[in-house]
């Protein structure tokens, strides 16, 4: 595991009017998936590439486990960091097996030494080794190529993984499947992952930390819930879809709709469960209230009315201007 700290990092290119990255500071916690979210030109890829020194910052520093990257030899640094890019990343003249063992082999390991490791990794990413070891990238589908890319990035067992829009070129179904598998693999391996995306949906699905960048500046950084619940400004609110009812239901916890218990409730729900779970449980069980439980303690209850109220309170201006979409939707559900 590795912790990454960005300390007042800036990058300006000569001749460019504005810096590509402008005084960005944040910390990626160990073992987490941190999503760098922004449109093209927001500086997210520049920020990523500064971690393994493909680009050096103009000012500020990046610390990995407390050591500045610029104090390390770039070659050694890169060998210790996994890197996955869009599908073009596989070497077309090498077989799947040879691609996966690129890093071990430049570290001087022989093919025989890394055979078991290669097989293990191929199994991990869901490619049966007997079938795929000897194939060339051209003989693989986009999704399969990306699996090999992931296996290759993991070959030297790096603590830190950089992923630059790895699923950007895949079709929607394959992308979703790859996202699920990444989460699945991450549950066992606990790498620190820095992941660049322009896809808000992807950022919310994968990230336990989201960093929003625009024009090289950090807009806001926090958990998906924090960004949804308290966007720092209109830009963030619009980007994360703070007024997107479906996303609110999916990510905001039932704690948001807590009210004092009015009586004993038969059904219970965890305080961290998303509103959607609360809603479904209310509808399915036909109860009017659910007891909210946090670490074994009863905190209060949620009802359809309290959920509806919570969503309405989150958008005071929308209600005032007549754009009553969230409260409408909520009351529609509440009245169901």
């Amino acid at each position: 595991m590795a912790k990454i700290e960005f300390v007042d990092v800036s990058k300006s290119y000569p001749g460019a009017a504005k810096p590509a990255v402008d005084h960005v500071s944040f910390t990626v916690r160990e073992g987490g998936i941190c999503m760098l979210l922004g449109t093209s030109g927001s500086g997210k890829t520049t920020l990523l590439r500064m971690v393994n020194r493909l680009i050096d910052p103009t000012s500020g520093s990046i610390l990995i486990d407390g050591t500045a990257t610029t104090a390390q030899d770039p070659i050694a640094l890169r060998r210790s960091i996994g890197y996955v890019i869009q599908q073009v990343g596989l070497f077309p003249h090498l077989t799947v097996e040879e691609n996966v063992r690129v890093v071990p082999s430049i570290l001087g390991e022989s093919a025989a030494e890394s055979t078991d490791r290669v097989d293990e990794l191929l199994v991990l990413v869901g490619l049966p080794p007997q079938e795929f070891r000897k194939r060339y990238p051209r003989q693989l589908s986009g999704g399969q190529q990306q699996r090999v890319g992931l296996a290759r990035a993991l070959a030297a067992d790096p603590a830190l993984l950089l992923m630059d829009e790895p699923f950007g070129a895949l079709d929607a179904i394959t992308r979703t499947r790859m996202q699920d598998e990444l989460l699945h693999i991450q549950r066992d391996m606990h790498k620190t992952i820095l992941f660049v995306t322009h896809d808000v949906e992807e950022a919310f699905r994968l990230g336990d930390q989201i960093v929003i960048l625009t024009d090289g500046k950090l807009m806001q950084e926090g958990t998906p819930i924090e960004l949804l619940a308290s966007p720092a400004n209109d830009f963030v609110a619009q980007l994360v879809g703070a007024d997107n009812v479906v996303r609110q239901f999916e990510y905001l916890p039932v704690m948001m709709a807590l009210e004092p218990a009015t009586g004993p409730a038969r059904e219970r729900i965890s305080a961290e469960a998303p509103l959607l779970d609360g809603l479904l449980q209310l509808i399915q069980t036909g109860q009017t209230a659910l007891a909210v439980e946090e670490r074994g303690e009863m905190r209060g209850q949620v009802t359809l009315a309290s959920i509806s109220r919570a969503l309405r309170e989150r958008k005071p201006d929308a209600a005032a201007t007549g754009d009553a979409q969230p409260s409408d939707a909520a009351s529609a559900v509440a009245g169901a």
């Binding site: 890197y83 077989t95 051209r138």
Partner: protein
Amino acid sequence: MSYIFDGFNWDLSDPTSIPNLLFQHLIITGISLAIGLLIAVPVGVLAARYTKIYLPAITLAGILYTLPSLAFMALLIPFTGLNPPTVIIPLVLYTQVVLIRNIVAAIRAVDPALLEVGRAMGMTERQVLFRVSFPLALPVIVAGLRVAAVTTIGIATIGPLFGVPDLGYLIFQGFNFRINVQIEAGVILVSALAVGVDLLLLALQSFLSRGRQVVAVA
């Protein structure tokens, strides 16, 4: 064809028999191509990276290529006499235009994203060159070598005029003594050699392109 199939012309003890002339022809073109590659590969690799080298290198090679072979070899006689170097030196220099241009184009055509991936994996610049650029460029380089090989085999036919008895001997000898079958034999053998070498290099090219689409002649 009767000349080719006449057992008398396959006597190994006769230095002007078909197998000996063929062998000479192969040796002279083989040496020329090998030296040509030894010069063109480093020059090409450098020229692909540094534009400042490319233009002078390709201009010089282009000028040398315009020298007529007969005149070029004749010019060398005072220095090297009627010996193989008189033939080999021009042959080597003639290969340079095709080889250098192909090597530069092949290396430059490698997807820069792949070079970046190599660097991001922690390859040194040397490893990027030998593990990524060069293997990916190799099939195109061999495509250039095919063109150079066919040209070299053709030009080497004038070798006998400068003391190198290769397959051209059959043509000159046949011409001098008005023996048409001998001329025909020479022409057929030189052509067959050129086609054969080209096919062999084509096979090498497809082998080197494994995993990718085979590039047509560059």
